[in-house]
């Protein structure tokens, strides 16, 4: 039983990381109908930015704030203007292909410009272990999970409770009505991209100590997050959290009780089951196809 709990809690921490990246997927989809397959690289790039600021001698928090500002401009505004805006009117496929291309370019850009080696990254949390009934948990595990929960719930609350958030949702649901209601549509869509960029920075801050800053760190992260978003429900932010945790925990259990070789297949199997039996995702609402 302790073994099971050990795996379960380790899985929760990993799942929290997946959930953060998955949240970005659902957010962009809800607000603008964009699927960003460079989501993992959107986490990798801020990690390297922070690393660069750290080597310049800045403290982590200062590096994080500057990185957030840069990310909003580059990964938010730049991504929207450079890729999403020009391509979205041609439908989904061009965006998908363009973001896959963007991911490859970002990975190799970092490899060529920085280095192909892994770099260690300071952890936000002290290196502490807790032993509760035979289960060992690190402060970083708990911290990552809690931070991920707060970010997901906070984003959800922002969308549901604030005027700006509700306006963003209105834009997502019906762009024309939103325009008629006097909502500044392009600005709302930009907000979504900016929030996505900020979430990516937060994810980078939380995951990089475990993943290590490496040019290809975003690849597995982006893929797992995509599965997690589908499993949880692509149009529900809480779904992203649930999907992330399910994937993280199941992976860990499978690798211990079935075979480590099938670890990566677990997310795919759940993904297929969900697509077959509940295509809108576990928490997703079935919606009319948006045109």
């Amino acid at each position: 039983m302790t073994d099971f709990l050990q795996l379960f809690f380790s899985g929760l921490a990993t799942g929290g990381i997946y959930a953060l990246a998955a949240l970005g997927f659902t957010l962009l989809w809800q607000a603008s109908g964009t699927i960003n397959f460079a989501q993992g690289e959107f986490v990798m790039l801020p990690a390297f930015m922070m690393l660069a600021f750290l080597t310049m001698g800045l403290p982590l928090w200062a590096g994080f704030i500057i990185t957030c500002a840069v990310a909003v401009v580059v990964l938010g505004w730049g991504f929207k203007r450079g890729i999403a805006d020009p391509l979205l009117r041609f439908g989904m496929m061009p965006i998908v292909v363009a973001t896959i291309g963007l991911a490859i370019a970002m990975r190799n850009g970092v490899r060529a410009g920085y280095s192909a080696e892994a770099h260690s990254f300071p952890s936000l949390f002290a290196d502490k272990l807790f032993n509760i009934a035979g289960v060992t948990i690190t402060l970083a595990d708990v911290g990552t999970l809690v931070a991920a929960l707060i970010l997901v719930v906070g984003t959800q609350a922002f969308l549901a409770k604030t005027v700006t958030g509700r306006a963003m949702q209105a834009v997502a649901q019906n762009t024309d009505s939103a325009t008629v209601l006097g909502i500044n549509v392009p600005r709302m869509i930009f907000y979504t991209f900016a929030i996505n960029a900020l979430l990516a920075c937060a994810a980078a801050l939380l995951v990089t100590p475990a993943y290590l800053a490496k040019f290809d760190m975003g690849e597995p992260l982006g893929m797992k997050a995509f599965f997690a978003a589908i499993i949880g429900g692509f149009n529900n932010s809480r779904g992203a959290l649930l999907g992330g945790l399910i994937v993280g925990v199941c992976e860990n259990l499978a690798s211990a009780y079935i075979s480590p070789a099938y670890k990566d297949a677990v997310a795919l199997v759940i993904f297929m089951l969900v697509i077959l039996f509940k295509p809108q995702g576990l928490l997703g609402k079935a919606v009319e196809r948006k045109v």
């Binding site: 795996l7 380790s10 990993t14 080696e117 272990l129 690190t138 290809d216 690798s255």
Partner: protein
């Protein structure tokens, strides 16, 4: 009549040889690209040895003259450079250090019967019955028996859990280790495969714990090794953690932090080795190049002295005879300090010599034990 001809010819040849009085060799190394660190260290070590030998009067009175060539870490370039070196009539070739480059370039030196020393470590290099290839370091197949013996004899473990990375490097090492473990009377009770790039090691470590093994052998790349060490610490693993070179490398120590302390690893060559000849080498190298040599610097340095020992054993500048003399040769560091450690070259060109167990203490590598050569037991 015929005898006179022969005598005249020999005299001429000798005269020509005396006038030349030099041994041309080619250093073919990774001086740029991914292998630049390894290649540059090898080259620096070799050049240091050449300088010393020439200052002391050369080999059999002949000065060594080296040409330095950059493979750009590219196998195609390496092969071209080997062909060029052979065409230039060099006496011996040193390098390349990348296994992929060595495997294609060694065909050239073999065809021309030119002795080829290499720092490359792929097992396949000495399994092709090439009588002109000589290693300067251990390989997976020669170091694993040492690790297994250490775990069985020194750590007194009866059984061991193996955590390895599922790629060519990891599988090669795991196969060699499991074979060596069986020979050392060590039982592998858990054989745990992990993925390259795996982030969460809770399941593999848990499996190792459940197996109740007396020790765990961790064989993976740098990042994954660091993560495994962290998870072992997290789950309170208190038994020995043993690995090969990578596990206690500086990169892993940097990445794993606190968790690296106490990890043990077998290392073939280290400048920290507790031997007077190694200390002397370290000081000379540092004085010349203003930094501390890594194992590739030692490989480069000792390889030149291995050639010297081979030529002196053969007693003449004849490539085939030197290659023959090198096989089965035991070079003692007492007689030839340049080889740094006593070394025996076997008939395939593989080496046997003493090696070290490194322990990480307070974030630093420390030599914990000296392992005797395999042949000595």
């Amino acid at each position: 009549m015929r005898k006179i001809h022969l005598a005249a010819f020999t005299a001429c040849a000798l005269a020509a040889g005396a006038a030349q009085a030099q041994i041309k060799i080619a250093l073919i190394q990774e001086l740029s690209g991914a292998g630049a660190t390894a290649g540059t260290n090898f080259k620096n070590g070799a050049e240091l040895a050449i300088k010393e030998i020439n200052a002391a009067g050369g080999i059999l009175g002949n000065q060594i003259q080296a040409s330095v060539n950059d493979t750009q870490s590219n196998p195609g370039v390496a092969k071209g450079l080997a062909t060029k070196a052979v065409d230039d009539g060099v006496f011996a070739v040193f390098g390349p250090t990348f296994s992929g480059s060595m495997i294609v370039s060694m065909a050239e030196t073999r065809r021309a019967e030119v002795p080829n020393f290499t720092g490359a470590e792929a097992a396949a290099i000495t399994q092709q019955n090439n009588p002109y290839v000589f290693r300067t370091s251990f390989t997976q197949t020669t170091s694993m028996p040492k690790v297994a013996r250490y775990i069985a004899n020194n750590l007194k473990a009866k059984n061991v859990a193996v955590i390895y990375v599922n790629n060519d490097f990891g599988k090669g090492g795991r196969d060699a280790f499991n074979k060596a473990a069986a020979e050392a009377g060590l039982k592998v009770v858990a054989d745990i495969s992990t993925e390259s790039g795996q982030v969460d090691f809770s399941a593999p470590v848990l499996k190792a714990k459940q197996s109740n093994a007396d020790a765990v052998f961790v064989y993976s790349n740098e990042e994954e090794s660091a993560r495994a060490l962290r998870e072992l610490r997290k789950q309170g693993w208190s038994k020995p953690i043993v690995g090969e070179t990578t596990l206690t490398g500086q990169k892993v120590i940097d990445l794993a932090g606190e968790a690296a302390n106490g990890a043990l690893a077998h290392v073939g060559l280290t400048v920290d080795a507790p031997s007077p000849t190694m200390r002397a080498f370290r000081a000379k190298f540092e004085k010349q190049y203003k930094y501390v040599s890594d194992h590739n610097g030692i490989k480069g340095y000792t390889s030149i002295y291995m050639l010297k020992a081979g030529i002196e054993k053969a007693g003449k500048l004849d490539r085939v005879a030197v290659a023959k003399a090198l096989h089965g040769l035991h070079i003692s560091a007492a007689k030839e300090p340049g080889v740094i450690l006593d070394v025996t070259i076997d008939n395939n060109g593989d080496l046997d010599r003493e090696s070290y167990i490194i322990e990480v203490k307070g974030g630093k590598q420390e030599v914990k034990e000296v392992l005797p050569p395999l042949a000595k037991k």
